[in-house]
Symmetry: D3
Subunit: 336 residues, 6 copies
């Protein structure tokens, strides 16, 4: 089993019940999530030794974050307590033609307001196999733009593989700003979650034929690889959105000059889509830590993501054995 | 923005949870609804100044009705308090092949028992653009049969446009009785919600070709228009019922001798179908008050109705901006 | 109306909410079920006089079982109180590609631990038309292996028709063990619920062509009939599992050398699949007691089973009139 | 064990949660109750053979009533189906200084609208030990005023003991009207639930000293006994209302010229007070059927009533053994 | 009836269920509150024409605030939409010895961030009888320190009575800062909610005898009156905290040189204490608008506050009639 | 901070809601608990490094146990997976005069069925300060009777302090059996939770004066100390049960020949009493690890236990800081 550190912001999610709007809701269900935290939980579920580093307020809400992570056996020794608040977002689940609606209230959070690196990098990365971080972190502040790169370099030097999920959010920064930072980070990255839109927005790679989606992915990976030969694995999902309740999901991966694709999962109905991408990333990193062959890596990761869509909350709830038996079993047959 | 008065009965709806029958239910969720009240809320959501006139008992249940309407900014100065009770109905939500089941307990309500018009018509209709009423009201009692016509004439004289939703309910009166009353009302109507079945039942218009549903609607509108040239807009939806969970919905409208049709909305899954027609009527009246072109009127109204199907309760929960962005956006994409 | 005795184990079912795993559940909903108890409730719903004989612990949990059965008007005079515990199982509802997951905790139950027949057989079977029992009972213990046959013989002698549902559960006994016992029981059986897999596992009947499922059923019934000419009716469902949320269900029945098939019900979405087979068996026995023609028997039973899939809990919640009106009505149309 | 018939109206109770007003409630919990139905359930819990005769609408709500009664093993063969509706009331639970608030919506119910006796009295009362009825029934209509007396006479003639609970409700009839009817009924009554206020309102018995409550009860019983020597047992509770959450309850009983009093139960906190009096009456009738000594009768009945206050819903949920062990055990000690 | 404007911040309250800590909560119930908003709702409940002026974000959470206020018929034409976020706080209800715990997350709210007065003061105060504001508003920012005084002066000039609730919160500003601002405001105030602690902290009035609490209040009012002869009414509650579940509450008021005191309400159990003071202030202002005699004013206000403690949420839920009947009725008697 | 190992059975608790009986419950809330597990969580909350050793089934229910412990940062590396089932118990919460009711279904659990010690004792106890175990473990089987002593000796040898909670349960073994085993264990014990009843039942120490409860405790401790001079600390609570909702709780402790007593906590109302004793034991062990003076130890422990009574579930939910601030603060004052 591997040793992994993920670092980033974790937020409180307040969701109204299905069929109830935020503006009329008499109660919200409580979940916690963030790309790096979700990946941490996935990997801990699979038996890896995982630390999630972040900062949360020193109150009951911050304590709830700690309990959430501990529940899934994620190490919280590097979860710092202090600062003003926990970033929050409100989720109104989509149904059928109606898309989900997210209201962000994340500004001024304890994590976003960090001005310096409050961890001892040497200690943090000692003996760690993978350091995972996403493009949301440098988007949070000028300070985090610098610190992200410093942390990545420190991890690299400590011998970690660097896993980076581009995860571009237009509400946080412009494509120009993001591109500049991402291009500074990429030379240090080993495993990169990046899709066609990323290729187009940040690396000036236009897919040549919008009709042939599968070939597009292959083409974009190849071109990104040319620009960043240091990246050993690129991966992303192709998602066909029939409605907010029905999606089709295929995983794709590029490694050693080869392109791999999972079977296409028909997700009908979707219980909760948030965190589906993180479950996919967690599955890929597990496969890489496990040194599985790449076809197995992408099959496992896509199955993990499909399973995530069937449970409430941002994080994966399935063990390695459960994902594998899901891959092996006939669809939807009762287990008894 | 326009000024609108709607008048009619509003009922308490007690619903069991999905998958639970009325006869085994340990709790009922509480909603309030009625055609005219639902239309009032839709129009208030779109920013119009709307009054709902009705009568409810002077107790906590009547007070709940007032709070429900106020919540959506509907003026309740003409909501009278008194009389014996609030009409009630029980709803067992349909699922898949199993249809919804409605148990009515509406007899003897404060509204149905009204013997005279207790509002000052002159004050009620002063400066009002549209007076909206439905065919349920005259069905409630002999007294209401007379009063409905008196109210419509008073509104007409006060300069209101008359909006009438035929809304035939076989449990309340026979087709013969209904037809007689409806034919007395129609000469005063400006905007009429009426479909193929209404054309057939009350105006002796048989659609010539049951296979060509779209053409049927056009044909029926044309024929009704010939009988009632005073009506400037006819409208209704075509609903294809695949199951209680999946419907396809298309809006149709006839105005100035032209026929308009919206795109077909695939509603899958349906959260709550009750009030879907009222959301449609509310959308049409909004478009007419806004003087939108007729294609936009029918597109907006049908989108509003489709959205209503995705939320619990009898009334629409979406603003003009939300309906319009729903029309513009790609189906089911998460908004964040 | 007929008089029926069913006898078997009834268990507590603890289910997590949809989209919530057992391992994270903060509450479980409570249902009670077991093949014979579920059949008893179905038949009581249809107006028959039904006794369910079993044994439950003498505490609040046992009392809950009694209240559950009484609620549906099942006679509990032969529900014994005593012994160590009520068998329990945990259900994690399946959704889409993810199958339901069942965790059994049934060992050592008051029923399974019964060493002798604690009822007065003569009294139990007096005037009874049908005695219904399943293949789960002899699987519970060596003692029950013997007692099951003794009870069946006693019922036969008292003039009851014997109804037997093979209901093989691999977790309880091996195919070899089961086959031996089942083959001892079959010579006494009048109505037998048995499908293709049963034919293959216990009677060495291999379907000749896996592509032609319908024909397979016919073939298997014919072959089983040859072995057990005493059985007057064989029946089972064909279930096509598209996913845990969508199944297609067709009922099949063999009687007097003829094969009958219901229409195919598309069940989308499934609310709760557990007990679907028992609702089917209950429907068949009702039709037989009613002396309906066989086509009506299989149509009614399959409709009853399809309806069961739309409600939570192990037992059927529909009266004879409701099943019949479901058969007659157009799919999913609101009843009001 | 005895055989008992109770007859009267049963209503749907819709309660808001504690701390939530009716006018703001988003869901109501569902209970069913009525004096005679509650007494029926108490007696069935104690093992007697009890029939509840009433009339409910032939729909899911009426079916729910049947299931409610069956659940507690009350015989519903004489529960008639038909008529317009089930009487309903809304309950807002009292807390501390704030009293409970009840909104009635009971007019026009299937039971109240009965114009003739629809049961075969001879069959209904055959072999019955006690016929229990309350003063609410004659208050419901002129027709019921007559029928109540006819039923009581028929039961008397059939050899039943007549149990009558005066249960005066000022919202249903005036004291004058009630007094006239009650005085017609009393000569046929064997067991009578009547307190000081009843003595004062209907029998012109003024308590001589309001300070000495205990003596008052004794005095009133003595005087009522003088007027109606046919009554063998009078009983009622003395309730000291400290607040809606805390009451002290003492049972009192008069028989054979002797006065009996239970210990005083401090009920703190009250979970649900509705039905407390019916649980008391049920306890008294059980003791009388059991031929317990009068001190035991009143101790058991008061304990049963105190226990009822600790559970939600109108009806008692405790067996004879549980009431007796409650009497025997030390207050509030955990049983494990 | 009067016309009132209240202005201030309104916040989202997220509460865990009783007996569940914030850090373990799986859902939060949603309420909205703030001193001035709560007073607005109380007064609207009593039939006054009330406007609440504030600023909330232009999203579903802000829309929820509007719906909350509208529900109670508070005019929201002066509720502005814009700015970053809605202030939030988390509430862990106290029970017995354990006090309630509040976690604030209110910094950076749309209201607190307002730099200029965005209302047209002239229009806002036209025809208004009372302008109510609290000491929380000037504590929110330097800008609000200035604007509060400007608004008060504008209201005074427009002929409004100025109602000011000192409401000191030590988490927002120091006593020194607060005292300076409060002393600038007081010369414009007509009705002032201020207690012994306020007298001591901000006006250098030490109560002479801590044992004689009642006399203290009188003494403090007299001294404050000497300093601010412009104030016509001072009022506050005396609260004896036995535990988080039990308090005793007495209202006190000073007017025209006389001291008035309500009866002492024993509040046992407390359902929700938050907003109790605002319900009291709302009751006082109602009495003053109604020109009730001062004893009635303080009796009504204290009863209103006691009732508020029996319902969930920050705002009062009782009408004038209900408060008056609560005053008149015997404690805790069921109303039916 | 200390290092602690606790070892014992952990069970699933299924509770009905307050005011709802087990026999009528439609859902159960889920908690996990056991004396040693609860002590482990308390100590982990206070920042100690705690391992809980036990055995649970390898399914979703066992996984839920692991997640429960991890949530509170208890190390589960020594939580074994395997065996037949998790012991279960049903809890019906007591209210007022009605005591709580517990239905056990614990026989045959994975832990109780362990035949050998499956941990490596040397590794388990390495560097451990305290090994905590209770008298429930040897009561579970003959095998556990032996293993308990073996484990205690191994821990002793490894240098651990032995903490033993007698925790006698009459449903599991007789006083004679228990006494024999307990007397074998006591010579190895350092910290012993034992009260007056234990003294009487197992050590033939009769308290000399039942009126002077406080002195009794002192007397019993002294006498037990004489018998077991190796025990350095004896402790227990005195609980006065006014009702199931109100208890008074005082902690007592004996060390170095001195007797210490906490203040008396009035617990009103009790939310959940289960685990109150374990919270007390956890508080004592924390104080001992912290080398607090004995008065502080007993004050802290009793406060921790009082707080536990105000939250749902078996385990303590408060940190060291929270318990200390509870000790320091005025009762029930809101913290904001």
């Amino acid at each position: 089993m591997g040793k992994v550190v993920t670092l980033g912001e974790i937020m409180l999610r307040l969701s109204s019940d299905a069929g109830i709007r935020i503006a009329q809701s008499e109660n919200f269900s409580v979940h916690f999530g963030g790309g790096e935290a979700n990946v941490a939980i996935s990997l801990a579920n699979y038996g890896h030794q995982v630390t999630f580093a972040s900062k949360v307020p020193a109150n009951g809400v911050g304590e709830a974050v700690k309990k959430h992570l501990n529940r899934y056996n994620v190490d919280t020794s590097d979860l710092l307590f202090g600062g003003p608040r926990l970033g929050t977002y409100y989720l109104e689940t989509g149904i059928g033609e109606r898309a989900a609606n997210v209201v962000y209230d994340r500004a001024g959070s304890s994590f976003a307001m960090m001005e310096t690196i409050e961890w001892d990098s040497e200690k943090l990365f000692a003996g760690v196999d993978i350091f995972h971080i996403s493009g949301i972190t440098p988007a949070l502040s000028d300070s985090w733009k610098k610190q992200t790169l410093i942390l990545i370099k420190a991890a690299k030097q400590a011998g970690c593989k660097i896993s980076f999920d581009i995860n571009y959010r237009g509400k946080l920064w412009s494509k120009a700003e993001a591109g500049k930072t991402i291009r500074e980070i990429l030379p240090y990255v080993d495993y990169c979650s990046a899709g066609k839109l990323d290729a187009q927005h940040f690396f000036e790679i236009s897919s040549y034929d919008s009709e042939l989606a599968a070939k597009d992915n292959l083409y974009c990976y190849k071109k990104m690889q040319e620009k960043y030969p240091n990246v050993s694995v690129f991966y992303s999902t192709k998602r066909k959105v029939y409605s907010a309740s029905v999606n089709a999901l295929t995983g794709t991966l590029w490694a050693n000059g080869n392109y791999y694709e999972s079977k296409c999962h028909q997700i009908d109905p979707i219980v909760d889509r948030v965190g589906g991408g993180d479950a996919f990333a967690g599955g890929v990193l597990h496969g890489l830590l496990n040194k599985d062959n790449y076809q197995k890596v992408i099959d496992f990761a896509t199955a993990a993501s499909a399973l995530k869509h069937t449970v409430h909350g941002d994080c994966n709830q399935f063990s390695q054995e459960e994902v594998e038996s899901f891959l092996a079993l006939e669809t939807g047959k009762i287990i008894r």
